[in-house]
Symmetry: C2
Subunit: 255 residues, 2 copies
Amino acid sequence: MDRLTIIKVGGKVVEDSQSLDALLNQFTRISGQKILVHGGGRTATEIAGKLGIPTEMVDGRRITGESMLDVVTMVYGGLVNKKIVAQLQARGCNALGLTGADLNLISAKKRPVKDIDYGFVGDINDVNSRELRIIINENVVPVIAPLTHDCKGRLLNTNADTIAAELASELAAYFNVYLFYCFENKGVLRNPDDENSIIFELDAPMFQQYKQEGIIHSGMIPKLDNGFRAKRNGVKEVLITNPENVATGKGTRII
Amino acid sequence: MDRLTIIKVGGKVVEDSQSLDALLNQFTRISGQKILVHGGGRTATEIAGKLGIPTEMVDGRRITGESMLDVVTMVYGGLVNKKIVAQLQARGCNALGLTGADLNLISAKKRPVKDIDYGFVGDINDVNSRELRIIINENVVPVIAPLTHDCKGRLLNTNADTIAAELASELAAYFNVYLFYCFENKGVLRNPDDENSIIFELDAPMFQQYKQEGIIHSGMIPKLDNGFRAKRNGVKEVLITNPENVATGKGTRII
């Protein structure tokens, strides 16, 4: 099977033009088939603010009302996605920007209201990779925005880490998939004040223990949950690292 | 050669949810391969206004400064395009939203400044249909936003009528292309106050004469220039009509 690298980058990296440049230079160097999954939350918050739409977050997740859905559709699917596509094309990388609605790639259902009404947030039902695999085999590089659809004409806001994990899991049947979660640190840190205190290998019992000890907490927990699920689903390697180490393979490896 | 229908619809049609519904119902019924090219100017003007960015038009063309480029990227490439894609998916039509940067589909150069500085407006250099044809042959339906790129990382705002004509011309070598320009009237009218005064057939000398007599004027002139160019480039049929007549083939036929 061919190697396929899936890189997920957070908003912080893609929304600053300097760090985006550095990321795209690294990304272009990766040999073989590849996919970029991106966020864009900071720009969404900024544009929403300018439009007079308040941003409300619960546990790091955006409450997505009707007008916020329009904002994330514009910002994730349009502004952030198409800028990345144009800049990859400038580097000779034949990028194709996608949401989960395009090619019916990722269908989802609106999250049921329990304690909190997240609004138009989607929990993934299914990944359809048929057309995606055809274009990947034509050396096209998909660039994926964190939006899905409900098959009834509605776009839904969906977490980019989850999209990357589900896509990696689906594609593991066809490729040797390497999944990289890129964020600001070199890996999962034992001590948040020491950026060299990287946990190089992480297995499920260690993850439980670090959670209990409070060493791994807040936003890192769902990210790692996604990573462990992808690993269980046959993804060859899951690495948490920063954009600079995408090429070296240094960081926290899920085992 | 297979039949390929290219429908270009203006902003007025796609920005109103009722007329968009009607259009997509008609569009879904077209048999064979198809492409939808859309505008979105009214929404761009509205969002720009809310963001405090003034809209300036010269001869119906938008002056596109840096911040207006962000707006059209968001609105054309994101909001309008992805809503259409999601609603086509709901109708069982496997849509794929594209700009000219995606798949390196349409490259352009920034319009040189003469009397007027249009800003980041692109004049088309080249259409690359290789990957587009592969996906069309997989029964995917491209939905194309009026944006191109300069191959140097910059998106450019490009007229949707021109995009439709250039795409139709390029694809005429591979398909029997039928190009429909849809707008609010049933065709080009002899008398603007009588919507039944349709000019059913229009050839180049008639076009010259109607222009001289002032019967055809303003925005209709560049639209028809695009239509005549497409026809000269081997497009099988070019029709100016409204969305309701996409299926019947009634309207103004360029001969």
